[in-house]
Amino acid sequence: MTERTTAFRRPAPDTDYAYASSRVRALEARVLDGARMARLSEAQSVDEVVRAMAEAGYPSGEQPEQSLSEGLAAQAALVRDLFPEPGYDEVLLLPQDAHNLKVILKAFLSGQLPDGERFVGDETSALGEGLLAGSGSGDVPGDDLASLPRFADVPTADSLRPYALSPSLEPFQAVYEAVRDRSAGRIHPFLEAAAVAAVRAFAQDPVGSVLDAAVDRLLYDTLSRKVAALGNPWFRDFQAFRVDLLNLGVLLRVLAMGSPAGRLAQELLPGGSLPETAFLRLEGATGEQVADAFRATPLAPLSALAPEYGKPGVAARFGRLADDLLSARVRTGRRVLFGPEILLGYLHAREMEAKNLRLVLTALRNGIRSAQVRDLLRDTTF
């Protein structure tokens, strides 16, 4: 499969989005807004939440979490189909493919299924063993899929499929076979490059998170290029801001965990509005220094949490605040009559709604007080 968008192209006129934007505006009326979510946080039973979910358009089912996932996937599929110009579906689906690739590679390299169950008896799979032992010329792969060492003792595609995300740009089976057979030219170029980068990183540092970071770095690099090529300034800035938020989260997590030197550089994502060096120079810094460093940036409200990051509950507050900052950007972008901003904003609103519903369901099942839940509810008022 070839890449669909590479060079910058002129975006479609906004009137091409007349149908899609108006349909999404009609769908927005069903999103559970801030006031309704606040009321829902007082729910006494799961049934109340399930009723609210049905009003918001989620399918009925015995497992509310399952209904949430299915409803969210259905809404995302609907919106992807509404885009009148190409390129957006690729940008929206690539993260799903990246997840699927990680599932396959981790299973191939570590001999474990994502739930921790082993499918081979040894500590490592044949490939992992070879890589770790540095057994000859095949230990660090070259630049293409064909140069990867031969995988042995791989699990079946069917055993991995429950952990895969669907839909994706490439069928899970195709990615599985291309990686297993080390066959170039059969899947999206990003997936091939990411597979090679991940195996190379794993060969040097055989930790699952290193593999994740290698795939994510390439994913966000690809996304930022493709988003820029779509020619929508708001979406480009939104994507860059999202990367900035993720990078600040990475920095704080690395500092809180006291991770070894070099880990920050491995995990920082490209494509943000702030250069990676802005984060790298803070390796080993105190929370106060981090807060000072970002005081004059849009990340200031978040970086203010840096001095207390690591204390109980602060990471959750960080997550909520980061989502609310993104939502504020979405609100700004939605001040257009027609355009992709409205469709992308709706997807964001639905994601926030699903997060809120999961929070409420989790709180109900674990007896967490509604006041605590309200503090973590994402803003879904658009």
């Binding site: 009137t15 934007s21 108006s22 349909r23 999404v24 505006r25 009609a26």
Partner: protein, 168 residues
């Protein structure tokens, strides 16, 4: 000189007046078609999710259609009423032809642009009705404000056609 003589033979007063009248009908009609089309697409999007709003949205869709009617009205005034080209044999001088053309300009230009602008406002109204059906009247008032300028242009063209151009 031959070239100018040829031009004078082609562009007679009647032909220039016809051009003006035709462009008034064409451009304002094009604007209306575009405006109504934009609102129609927007309305179809809302109706996909809520077919019950058809009546409310149809009114909004009709609003940008008036400019096309105004253009046709001026065409009728020039060709049938004032010029009497269809049922008589009026012959206009080149100067009178240009006067007719100039009289058509307001509705020709304002009709085109105001219909598109009104279509966008009405489409925004469609989105408003999608979320708050009870606000339909406000959506109509907002779109009708754009109509004011199309009416001014119609009035200007009408007065010029009737009182600005002296025939006979």
């Amino acid at each position: 000189m031959e070239f100018i003589d040829a031009l004078n033979k082609i562009f007679t007063g009647n032909v220039i007046a016809f051009f003006g009248a035709s462009l008034a009908a064409i451009l304002s009609g094009m604007g209306s078609a575009k405006g109504v089309g934009i609102v129609g697409e927007a309305a179809a999007g809302v109706l996909s999710e809520d077919p019950g709003k058809f009546g409310k949205l149809l009114v909004l869709q009709a609003l940008p259609g008036t400019q096309g009617i105004y253009g046709l009205l001026i065409w009728f005034m020039v060709v049938v009423v004032k010029g009497n080209f269809l049922f008589g044999n009026t012959v206009l001088t080149v100067e009178q032809g240009w006067q007719m053309f100039a009289a058509c300009l307001p509705i020709m230009i304002v009709g085109y642009f105001s219909a598109i602008a009104q279509g966008r406002v009405a489409a925004a109204g469609v989105q408003l009705v999608a979320k708050r059906p009870e606000e339909q009247s406000k959506a109509m008032v907002l779109a009708a404000m754009v109509e004011t300028y199309a009416i001014f242009a119609l009035l200007a063209s009408f007065l010029m056609v009737f009182f600005g151009v002296k025939i006979g």
